[in-house]
């Protein structure tokens, strides 16, 4: 009885129903789809900078330094040039004096080449070599090379990849490194390393 009485007085026009199935809901769909996809994208964007800790464009290094020659062939240990690695937080880039030890007279062990000539004149000029820094960490991260290299006994390659094979200087952080430069990588390594000191306490790395 109640159901009967409360049925819409003028029964609905089929036309309206038809309309219902065609366009308009689609419009609604489009709008919401557009909205949601843009929302997703913008979310993605807002997460990106978390990973972006390094320059995303290639930088031009002053000299085409070949790690391969120095590390693989001459077997110079990394820490001879990157003096900070064992002593301090930052493994530094040699500014010239260290290069001069071998190169000041211009005849490096494997003969003359153009790059070395440029190096020599740079050294002669007395200016430090304008290396461009490519591996950067955000300010709130404190990464101590000493802690990892000396205390943790971790090999450079583990993080920096096969540097010994490189023909060219780093024009951007080497990919394997950069992709995982986010916290996830550190945490993963810290969790799997058996070292009791390598916990996941935030204060270990964050200042």
């Amino acid at each position: 009885m109640s159901a009967h009485s409360s049925r819409p007085a003028h029964g609905h026009r089929p036309g309206v129903l038809a309309v219902t199935q065609r366009g308009p809901p689609a419009t609604a769909l489009r709008r919401s789809t557009t909205a949601s996809c843009s929302l997703l994208l913008s979310l993605a964007c807002s997460f990106l900078p978390a990973l972006a800790c390094s320059p995303t464009v290639d930088v031009e290094q002053p000299i085409a330094f070949v790690h391969k020659i120095h590390v693989a062939e001459e077997e110079i240990p990394c820490t001879d040039c990157h003096i900070g690695a064992e002593e301090a937080d930052h493994a530094t880039i040699p500014l010239g004096e260290d290069c001069a030890d071998c190169h000041e007279d211009g005849n490096g062990e494997n003969g003359e080449n153009a790059e070395e000539a440029r190096l020599v004149e740079m050294l002669a000029s007395g200016e430090p070599i304008p290396w461009k820094r490519v591996h950067k960490l955000r300010e709130h991260v404190r990464f101590s090379h000493r802690r990892h290299v000396v205390a943790g006994q971790i090999l450079c390659e583990r993080c920096h990849g096969e540097v010994a094979e490189r023909e060219l200087p780093f024009s951007r952080p080497n990919i394997s490194f950069n992709r995982e430069l986010g916290m996830e990588r550190c945490v993963a390594c810290h969790l799997e390393s058996g070292n009791p000191r390598a916990g996941i306490d935030c204060a270990l790395c964050h200042r």
Partner: protein, 241 residues
Amino acid sequence: MAKELSGSELKTRRWGMAVDLDRCTGCGACVAACKVENNIPESSPEEAQMGRVLRWIRVARREEPEGDRASVSLYPALCYHCGNAPCTLVCPVHATYKGIDGLVGQIYARCIGCRYCMAACPYTVKVFNWSEPRWQPELRAHTNPEVSLRYRGVVEKCTFCSHRLQRARDDAAVEGRDVREEDYQPACVEVCPAKALTFGDLDDDHSGAATARRSPRGYQLLEELGTDPAIVYLNRRERRV
């Protein structure tokens, strides 16, 4: 060397402090030391007027009237690194948390600035960067590189100079031993002219802090709240802070 050291050998500590109020003269040297060590910028006079001074440790003054006079006491107040820290319970993003060796950490990069931890802290020791800190360019260049410069909108607090603990741990690890007490002293303790502050491992019964804690003069601030602060005050007199 560090390789040999297994987890069992690595001692877990409970770093704590004893403040001898019979020695403390409220000179404020600890405050200055903290400011220098932890890159705490000076507030502008206007901010100070509004009560927005950034301080990780402050010298509080308590006055208990005795007729026309008062028994005044001055005591340094800093983060108490509670064993059962109310602030860490309420943080929504794991920005303040119970860290290694019982230190209560504060991660500025994570903090969203809801200031819930400040509201929850019964000791009112957390401070907030209400606006972008202004640094004299001359002085900004000479800040301590081991501590980050904070920015607008995050909560900060005393960390017991945990960066010094990090250094000490590194050195210990390199030498393949445990951290000794003398390796790690916060700036305020190091500088105190009256030698009123003693810092050490509360779990180690022989440490200065632990013995102080056992002393009959010793008591904790607001112990009735059960927060188990890692800082114990020593006071010979009846008056308490």
